[in-house]
Point group: C2
Chain length 224, copies 2
């Protein structure tokens, strides 16, 4: 099948998705840790559009964008499918994965990593989106009740692990048990799954990484 290489960054939730997927598929690969602030020539060559990791290189051919790489992994290695088999269930999985990346995470990140009116407005939006997800899980959508790590589960690790870490780094609360019990119980399942546990970046190192990021972002915003 050709050699597999992953270009990633230790603190990136999007890189972690691909590590989990390759683990689930039982695919051996070479891992290149990239420096986000000093991008290697191979990142610029392989992903000139976004200049971002993760990038999966298979038999010399690069694929970028974590959701696209997850789909590729499921198409290429058929064992242990991550997407459901039924077309409607697949559509639901794709819909909620896209929801997490496009609708849910951006306002959460802004609410936690910015200050003032911008953070306040983002917080209201984030709460709206968290309520939508909470209600969806409440309907009993079986996507959120699997046993192994499915497509939406893998995508959801950013909510389960990164959001609490960034909350701690920012000294703010948003995603809490009392307001979103079903999201928190889903998150708990994702974090106790072996595939995830083995691959998560160290907690304290990640908190400290985000403390630095938040300080830098607030400093830059205060100069504008």
């Amino acid at each position: 099948m050709g050699e597999v290489k992953l270009l990633g960054f230790w603190a990136s939730p999007y890189s972690l998705r691909i590590k989990e997927a390759l683990k689930i598929k039982g695919v051996d690969y070479e891992y290149d840790e990239e420096d986000l602030w000093n991008k290697s020539q191979q990142v610029l060559n392989y992903n000139p559009v976004h200049k971002k990791v993760p990038i999966l290189v298979h038999a010399g051919k690069p694929i970028a964008e974590s959701l696209v790489i997850l789909e590729y992994t499921d198409d290429r290695w058929k064992g242990n499918p991550m997407l459901p088999q039924d077309p409607y269930d697949r559509a639901q999985a794709r819909f909620w994965a896209k929801f997490i990346d496009d609708q849910l995470m951006p306002p959460i990140l802004t609410a936690l990593m910015r200050s003032g009116e911008i953070a306040k407005r983002a917080r209201r939006k984030a709460e709206e989106q968290l309520n939508l997800l909470e209600n969806e899980i409440k309907t009993g959508n079986k996507l959120f009740e699997g046993k192994g790590m499915g497509f939406v589960d893998i995508v959801g690790v950013v909510v389960a692990y990164w959001v609490p870490v960034i909350q701690q780094a920012a000294g703010k609360e948003l995603l809490v048990q009392k307001s979103y019990p079903r999201i928190c119980s889903w998150a708990n399942r994702l974090l106790t799954c072996n595939v995830t546990r083995e691959k998560l970046p160290p907690h304290d190192k990640l908190v400290s990484f985000y403390e630095d990021r938040i300080a830098a972002i607030l400093k830059k915003a205060s100069r504008l």
Copy 2:
């Protein structure tokens, strides 16, 4: 297979995608035209997350988000596939479809439909993204050289038809033959394809729709 219904809006490029896909698949469907400014209860029920069309309802079950619906259509009705069969080619198609929706169209729309510094900054970003697409087509990527309407082609109709219409409505030029000959030649192929031609909304009516939209947006911005 159950009844198929499409909730759409005549001026929406995202609704047109689904009309094209269902035509390619030879699927008969009921069409409900929705009023974007006075949303029907069925839009709110079927898509509480975005409250937006297009929504495909198949055997009573709703699917939202145009790219998700396209994937569903390809998964459910196997004849005349829109995505390529090879996993790497599928990944490329998904990557460029996502690029068009997430990276290319937002700055183009802002550049054309806003004014002042916001439009100017968006224009620079739009030109960067157009150059990336122009260069990709120049490399000979076969995704852009198919005969029928593939996945990226269907997604690309927004670039081929809507961008020139909005340029005319705004009295601005951005995507022009001289600067982007390969994009324009691709666009020309998309527009002369029967599947597209039959389904496109009337040109003058669409220009007039966007003239009104732009006037409303600029009026609102001037009050802020």
